[in-house]
C-alpha cells in the first residue's frame, strides 16, 4: 500500500498545531504535528479530541470559551470548519498594543 493510500485507509491527516502564551505552557509544547482523524469537522471537534489526549490539554482547554483559534493564520470560531487547514493555532485572548 502506498503512503497516501495508507493515510486514506487510516482516516487521518497530519496537521501542525501551534500553541501560544498560557495555552502553550499548559499543553507543555510550542508546537506539534499530529495525525488527526479526517472526520473531525470543526475547531470545537478538534478541541474535544485534543482534550482526550491528556491532562495538559484538559488544563489548557478547561474553559473552551476562552481559548481562541486560528486556521492558517486567520482567526476562527469554535464552529469553523477545519477544511484543509495545515496549521491550526490555539491561544488566549490577545493582549498586544
Amino acid at each position: 500500500m502506498s503512503t497516501a493510500a495508507a493515510i486514506a485507509a487510516a482516516g487521518t491527516r497530519p496537521v501542525r498545531i501551534v500553541y501560544f502564551a498560557w495555552v502553550r505552557e499548559r499543553v507543555g509544547l510550542p508546537e506539534e504535528t499530529l495525525d488527526i482523524p479526517a472526520d473531525l469537522a470543526t475547531v470545537a471537534d478538534l478541541v474535544r479530541w485534543l482534550k482526550a489526549r491528556g491532562e495538559g490539554y484538559q488544563t489548557a482547554f478547561a474553559n473552551e470559551a476562552v481559548v481562541r483559534a486560528a486556521l492558517d493564520h486567520v482567526h476562527a470560531k469554535p464552529s469553523a470548519q477545519l477544511g484543509h487547514a495545515r496549521e491550526i493555532a490555539f491561544f488566549p485572548p490577545m493582549t498586544g498594543g
Binding site: V18, F20, A21, W22, A70, H73, V74, H75, A89, F91, P92, P93, M94, T95, G96, G97
Partner: protein, 154 residues
C-alpha cells in the same frame, strides 16, 4: 496606498517614521500618530515580555490595515509592533495614519489601535523587579467594547 507593517524587536523612531511617510510629497495635510509605551503602575515591573505568532501577526495587522484603508481616504498607514522583553517607559507599538484632512487620520489611527489590541496575536507577560515571573496580562472587556463600536459606526 500600501500600508507598512513591521513586527520587530528593535525600537523605532516616531520622527523617522513620519519623515519616511511624508518624504517627497506635499499632499498630506494630517498625520496622526499613536505610540504605546510599557507602563509600570506601581514600581514593581522590570519589563513586559511580548510573545507573538510570527506570520499571523503580520497577516492580521495587514487585514486590519486593509479595512482602515477601505474605510478612510488615507495617504499613508504605518503599524509597527515590537516583541520580546520591553522595559518600562520604552515603546511597544506605533500607528501612523496620514490623510489630506485630520478627521480621517484621527479615526483611522483610533480604529487601527482598537483592532490591534483585540485581533493582533500578541500576549504580554510581566517580569517583576524582584526577579519573579508575573502572570500573563489578562484581556480587558473594555478593549473588546472599543473595537465593537466600529461595527456600528457608518
Amino acid at each position: 496606498m500600501t500600508p507598512l507593517i513591521r513586527i520587530q524587536h528593535e525600537d523605532f523612531s516616531l520622527q523617522d517614521e513620519i519623515d519616511a511617510l511624508s518624504a517627497g510629497r506635499a499632499d498630506i495635510g494630517a498625520v496622526v500618530s499613536f505610540a504605546g509605551l510599557c507602563r509600570d503602575e506601581n514600581g514593581t515591573l522590570a519589563g513586559l515580555e511580548l510573545e507573538h505568532y510570527p506570520g499571523m501577526a503580520e497577516a492580521e495587522i495587514g487585514r486590519v490595515a486593509a479595512e482602515a484603508a477601505a474605510r478612510w481616504p488615507l495617504m499613508g498607514l504605518v503599524a509597527i509592533h515590537r516583541y520580546g522583553l520591553i522595559r518600562p517607559g520604552d515603546q511597544i507599538v506605533l500607528v501612523l495614519a496620514a490623510s489630506a484632512h485630520r478627521r480621517a487620520a484621527f479615526e483611522a489611527a483610533d480604529f487601527m489601535m482598537d483592532y490591534l489590541k483585540t485581533r493582533a496575536p500578541f500576549w504580554k507577560r510581566e517580569h517583576r523587579i524582584d526577579g519573579t515571573l508575573g502572570g500573563w496580562v489578562e484581556a480587558k472587556g473594555e478593549d473588546d467594547d472599543a473595537a465593537q463600536r466600529w461595527e456600528q459606526a457608518p
